[in-house]
Amino acid sequence: MQALLSFDKSPPLAAPFRFFLTAPVMGMLAALLFLLEGETILASRWTPAALAVTHLLTLGFLAQVMLGALIQILPVVAGANLPAPLWVARLTHAGLLGGTLLLVFGFLWGSPTGLLLGGLGLALSICTFLAISLRALWAVPSTSPTIRSLKLALLALLVVVALGGGLVSVLVFAWGGFDPRWVDLHAAWGLAGWGAALVVALSLVVVPMFQLTPGYPARFSWFLVPAVFAVLIAWSLVQMWADGAGARFFQAGLAVVLAAFALLTLRLQAQRRRARADATYRYWQFGLLSAILACAMQLTVALRPAVSEAPAWSLAFGMLVLVGAFMSFIVGMLYKILPFLAWLHLQNLVPGGKGVPAMNRLLPEAGAAQQFWSHVVLSFLLLLAVIYPLPLTWVLAGLAGLFSQGWLLYHLWRVAHLYWRHLKVIQLGKAAA
């Protein structure tokens, strides 16, 4: 069985581990910023501190895990093999981490140099990653909805980077004034075109695989991400060149399509054959409910635009989407995939898997389930702070964020540490033999 399980083309675990271990550190930085600058962050989505915390979450946490995971799973879910994956990982990780920190520094200290260098670092590293992964992916025919959706998600990321780069140039060189509509497009392409499309593309594979649910109906799977993409293009064109009513129509369309996906996933999960509710399942349920609530908010804005004028509205929406939905999907997925990958890689190195610790020993399930509740508490405290912006609420939310992300970091570090330790023992054993 040893040879049969050999994943000869799968990248070394050092490739994605660096991303996964960095993400919670960025999450802790976001929490620390919330603790110290809560008043400014909660005043409006446009304050420098709010922009800084948003990018710590989107680039520092979400994109870190998403790009790191893609390097690992593109060969598995799409049959697309990246050349020199460890080098792609090193370059992307360094640029993404350095770029994020410089951009955040630029926002917080009003430093044009920070913004410019951060923007350049991010654009270079993400575009390098995109060039390599799109090339590998384009060589693969779109034989499944997942492959087609992945191609579209990566193209959307290119749009996000282009819009982000444009916004940084406007800020740094003060070209022709600042138009908030471009920021909305940057966010919409990032959250729906890239983030949601990627979650959808991977859900089609991982929800039935790890949660033992029925599959997604084929017609719906083929339609979903192309529909998101088409609506985003239409929305972008109307947003820039027509009146607000047209844009609201497409905004509503996007909310309906994504809510349909979330509701369908909840229905599939209700039919799952795995009786036990593990941390991954709980995280996904929480993420899906947050996503449905966010879609309902989006639909409300499309029908009654005036409600979004209250500062709390867009902040609550942002937290629901970033922390309630995306972070939940990602952490839920990490808790399932990381111990599995570590176990599989070790298993492949030892005949019969002798001495390889069980997955539950690499990451005890009870610990992950407890960490999930800290994430729920954090989400509610964040929402409370948005609704009642008082020192008590934002300090509590910041502390909860530090605690929850610190706990996640400990769990991920533990898996990595046990993996390296066993790897060393196996290598020493082989050298002695």
Binding site: L5, S144, P208, G215, P217, A218
Partner: protein, 75 residues
């Protein structure tokens, strides 16, 4: 595309990894050269595809409306 009937079926749709992989390889060991087997999954098994090609097995994949991938493998 219609599949010729084969009595050798691994329905791995509700199995956890790496069980579908293991059962498919065991089934391939049991059937005769030239015989076909059918693997049912809710995803495309790209790592398995690589192993099948390396071992000289041909395969055809069809996605059914309910989201099942039918992979017909020739030993």
């Amino acid at each position: 595309m219609t599949h010729p009937k084969t009595p050798h079926i691994v329905d791995a749709r509700y199995m956890e990894p790496p069980e579908p992989f293991v059962q498919t390889m065991e089934m391939l060991d049991r059937i005769q050269p030239g015989e076909k087997m059918l693997l049912l999954l809710f995803r495309e098994p790209h790592p398995l595809y690589r192993v099948l090609l390396q071992n000289g097995h041909a395969y055809e994949t069809e996605l059914l409306p309910d989201g099942t991938f039918e992979i017909l493998i020739t030993r």
